[in-house]
């Protein structure tokens, strides 16, 4: 059952414009830096310029001479604010995982460029910046560990001197299957063995971070405003780290300008401002600068991947074996160690592979901590398996679409239990791929490519595939328990109907650009038979929405939206009881549609929801024992993940003279289940694809051997703009998820998960006859030109 079937003429499924946009487009929306807080103390953070160094001395005298700079405080000075309390990591993935104490401001040793080593307190943001720039820190440099593989080399310097190695943990997934895997490789007709690099990425949301802690000294309460994706989690964590009673703490996320996962965290500045505000009895605030964000906000990806496929003579894959090295950075942030695990179940992609082995060793380096970045583990997994499947296709001598067809999980195999232990909900991967092949005119493109090759053109055409499946709808709480995650995966919603029949939806999901207000309104409007503009959606403030687990992992609709749907159903049930009472009919004889309860077979016997709402408010004549008002609360714990999937096809033109790659066409056919608002879905897919293509072609957090971030500004760190976006051509093929009543799956990360391997497979396809078999990301012109030159040199 889906909503679209129940109410085909409803709002769900329509391309409704977003109700969020007028305030955002006119500047009416208030972001963290727009908050007016008279008398606030501004924090400027002095950040380490060394990747690894002892802090010998901190001289604030020059800073203190600047007008408006009042104090310079070192990590030692600040230590009493948090004692041994460290920034939290909520995901101890193994019992022996190393988690070095991570203080908001370092004491003794700086461990990465950007590590906070002192703070300046000032009267204004400008004075704080001037003051931070004037603090002189005396460093005694120590050897730095920069690259992932260097961290595990013999004799590597230690990031944390009190640990005996740079290894954080090793986590594996193969159970007692090792002999079967060895046998599969021994018997294989084809073996593919590949090594891929996942470069580090800087999340770069349009709004950097910021926070403001505002105390109420008389009552002892603290309100923490933050540009965060997770006000609810931040509240619990701040209370625990600083010992503030939860009932004295409120967290508010104002309008938030994107996050892509980097605002799914508890950061030093949030703890610092909160602690100082409580100590000083005054508002304390900090706004991140763009250049500061490059080193002080978490980065994404950072893996070395080894993947092996064993296949029979027909190219049917019999085993996949994966070993990862993952870069944690210098410290563990909120879910840093868990990110590789989120991909760890998906290295078989959308293929029916009976034998599965995954092992990840994570290491510390002297670089900014990594953490969740759009897709978190799943783009990495998809990249490895989709690149390796293309290599297998070459080995077997079949096309990329044929190798996929031979290995797809069949449409009749759902629910499908994977060798990694997941149960996939629904899908029809072959139909999705067939649609994409037709839409991209793959045959026509290949003919064009052959013609270019034959004519000796320097402009080569390449066609690249990426078939993906991801796990979304994070997450069943018991599954999270089995993965040693420190919280559950439910979501909460409250739905109330006011006396005048307006609707208030309180959601625990926290929007930062997705369109929750629009989509929740459409769902509820269809259920209740009201206009979406009569639905108000409240969120992002723990005083208004006290219960929730926030927004990440494409979970909002599948978990939070389902909670909203179920709470609305509960309200309708109560309204039905009141209607039956008023109409003197049995509840079973009532039907509800278009906002009116009717007695079946007695058309004149009807009562509108508005009448019920007012009756519930006055409470003059309710059924015996019934509480007044129409209101219901639901906390929904999903029974399973959802599994969005799709096939993306990238078409590139590669200039072999310069190495320049032009993304000339991009086709995406996605199955995100039932779509609430296709306009919002397309926006997510467009942005996601460009973000994935950005990893493939543009973005790279480049560190030099000293551990300095070289691509530290948006001139050198190449976030693509609309001008670089390809022509997006989208289609969908929905197989409704049986996991939730609306049949939805989630779409926030799909484009990013799919795009990078599609683009790189296309580049390699364009150059394969020149001898190129791999191109590292990002496939910059220089990298591509050199790959061609190396392949040609090797051939001659």
């Amino acid at each position: 059952m889906t909503i679209t079937e129940d109410a085909p003429a409803g709002h769900v499924g329509s391309r409704r414009l977003r109700k969020e946009d007028p305030a955002l487009l006119t500047g009416e929306a208030k972001f963290i830096d727009d908050l007016a807080l008279p008398g606030a103390i501004w924090v400027g953070v002095v950040r380490s310029t060394e990747a690894h160094a002892n802090i010998v001395g901190i001289d604030g005298s020059a800073a203190l001479e600047i007008d408006g700079v009042n104090e310079v405080l070192s990590g030692e000075d600040l230590a009493p604010l948090w004692g041994e309390g460290a920034l939290p990591c909520a995901w101890p993935v193994t019992p022996d995982m190393k988690n070095p104490a991570h203080l908001p401001v370092a004491r003794g040793t700086a461990k990465y460029v950007g590590d906070a080593v002192a703070v300046v307190l000032a009267d204004s943001r400008y004075a704080a910046a001037d003051g931070a720039a004037a603090v002189v820190v005396d460093y005694e440099p120590l050897p730095a560990v920069v690259e992932i593989e260097d961290a595990v080399a013999d004799g590597a310097p230690l990031v944390h001197a009190d640990l005996d190695s740079n290894e954080c943990y090793t986590w594996g997934l193969w159970g007692d299957n090792a002999p079967a895997i060895d046998a599969a490789f021994a018997e294989a007709a084809h073996v593919v063995s590949e090594r891929y690099l996942q470069q580090r990425l800087i999340p770069a949301p349009m709004e950097p971070r910021g926070c403001a802690a505002v105390p109420s000294p008389a009552g002892g309460e603290l309100t923490l405003y933050s540009a965060t994706q997770i006000p609810h989690i931040l509240k619990v964590m701040t209370a625990v780290v600083l010992g503030i009673p939860e009932n004295k703490l409120r967290v508010v996320a104002p309008s938030v300008g994107g996050g892509f996962g980097c605002k799914l965290n508890v950061y030093a500045e949030e703890i610092l401002c909160s602690a100082l505000a409580m100590q000083r009895g005054a508002p304390v605030r900090w706004t991140e600068g763009r250049a500061e964000a490059a080193v002080s906000t978490i980065q994404g990806r950072g893996q070395v991947q080894h993947i092996e496929l064993a296949a029979d003579a027909d190219g049917k894959v019999t085993a996949v074996r994966v070993k990862l090295l993952a870069d944690m950075g210098a410290y563990l942030q909120l879910v840093t160690p868990g990110v590789p695990l989120l991909g760890g179940f998906l290295y078989h992609g959308c293929y029916d592979i009976p034998n599965y082995m995954f092992e990840c060793t994570s290491v510390f380096t002297n670089r900014t901590p990594t953490d969740a970045y759009r897709g978190a583990g799943r783009p990495e997994a998809t990249y490895a398996v989709e690149r390796a499947m293309d290599s297998l296709a070459v080995s077997v001598g079949v096309s990329p679409e044929e190798i996929r067809a031979r290995n797809f999980i069949g449409a009749d195999a759902f629910p499908y239990e994977s060798a990694a232990g997941l149960v996939f909900d629904s899908g029809d991967y072959q139909t999705v791929l067939d649609k994409a092949v037709a839409l991209a005119d793959v045959d026509g493109r290949r003919a064009e490519a052959a013609q270019r090759r034959a004519s000796g053109s320097s402009k080569r055409i390449g066609v690249g595939f990426s078939s993906y499946v991801e796990m979304c709808g994070l997450a069943p709480s018991r599954v999270l328990a089995s993965l040693d995650y420190g919280a559950g995966g439910w979501e909460a919603a409250t739905v109330r109907i006011s006396p005048t029949c307006k609707v208030q939806v309180v959601t625990g999901s926290t929007p930062h650009g997705q369109g929750h207000e629009t989509c929740w309104s459409m769902i509820v409007a269809d259920q209740l038979g009201v206009d979406p503009d009569d639905v108000e959606v409240l969120h992002s403030d723990t005083a208004v929405s006290p219960t929730g687990l926030d927004t990440y992992g494409s979970r909002s609709l599948a978990v939070g939206g389902t909670a909203v749907y179920m709470a609305t159903e509960k309200v309708i049930d109560k309204a039905r009881a009141i209607a039956a009472h008023q109409l003197e009919a049995s509840e079973d004889d009532l039907e509800f549609s278009g906002g009116v309860f009717r007695v079946r077979g007695t058309p004149e016997a009807e009562v509108p929801l508005a009448g019920i709402a007012f009756a519930a408010f006055t409470a003059h004549d309710l059924p015996d024992g019934m509480e007044p008002n129409l209101e219901a609360h639901v906390t929904y714990d999903p029974p399973n993940f959802t599994f969005p999937n799709g096939t993306h096809i990238a078409v590139v033109e590669v200039d072999t003279d310069t190495g320049d790659v032009d993304l000339i066409d991009y086709v995406a056919v996605d199955d995100c289940g039932v779509q609430i608002n296709p306009l919002v879905v397309e926006g997510q897919v467009h942005g996601g694809i460009l973000q994935g293509a950005a990893q493939a072609l543009y973005e790279d957090a480049v560190y030099n051997s000293d551990g300095q971030l070289v691509s530290a500004n948006l001139g050198d760190y190449l976030v693509p703009s609309a001008a670089e976006a390809p022509r997006f051509r989208l289609d969908s093929h929905a197989t409704p998820s049986p996991t939730n009543p609306m049949g939805v799956k989630g779409v926030g990360e799909a484009g990013t998960i799919a795009a990078a391997p599609a683009v790189i497979n296309a580049v390699v396809d364009a150059l394969r006859d020149l001898g190129v078999t791999d191109v590292d990301m990002p496939a910059s012109p220089q990298t591509v030109w050199r790959a061609i030159a190396d392949a040609q040199g090797g051939a001659s």
């Binding site: 943001r125 720039a133 500061e292 310069t658 543009y698 790279d700 070289v710 001008a723 910059s780 220089q782």
Partner: protein, 272 residues
Amino acid sequence: MIPAAFDYEVAESADHAISLLGEHGDDAKLLAGGHSLIPMMRYRLATPSVLVDVGRLDDLRYIRTGNGSVSIGALTRHSELEHSAALAEACPMLASVAALVGDPAVRHRGTLGGTIAHADPASDLPAAVLALGGTIVAQGPGGSREIAATDFFTGYFESVLADDEMITEVRVPAGSGGWNYQKFNRRAQDWAIVGVAVAGGGSGVSLVNMGSTPIRASGVEAALAGGASAADAAAVAADGLEPPDDLNADAEYRSHLARVLTERALNAAGVA
């Protein structure tokens, strides 16, 4: 991303600007469109203590044609070059190159005088003026002087302009001849990784981001003058140069690009 503190003066005229420069010495910088200077100040790579704003000197915003030459006021915005019908007629190359600078926001603020005074070897318009054989008019306390573009640029962000001089006008010969501009970059709004400007059917060839200044490719010009083919002339485009190494390109790749792009530019300019 917050600049260091500075004082701000509004110039009422070119004379006023020059007297303010004289007053504040080398602590002062002229502010025109600001799209190079202000980012450098926000990164604290530049920390002038005084900004002298010449952006309101509308008498220096003009495009005049006649007598075989085009005279452009120093405060003329890139977008005005881009959309000027007179310039499209008299010097289509300059109008075309202006349309490739940065993004629309940059082109609506940035000025021709500003980009030449900034002397960034990676900028488009200085190289175009160089290839066109342009002349820079600079005014100082003692009056105006004319400087050939070939003599103007002396090093990274350095020129022969004195601390108390400002550019008031840029002149280029009318008629671009056979011309082309090749700009190679990764994102539309970026500086060129390498650029090649060809004017006058190959009599003027210049290179962007191949050294510490915009560079006149005299070897290419000489080869063409000696009867070489475009391909043969392009082969010497990077000879003797020391191009920079950066994240986008090392010196070897830059030299390769210079040769490829020079041949493309010459061919597009009608040089076989």
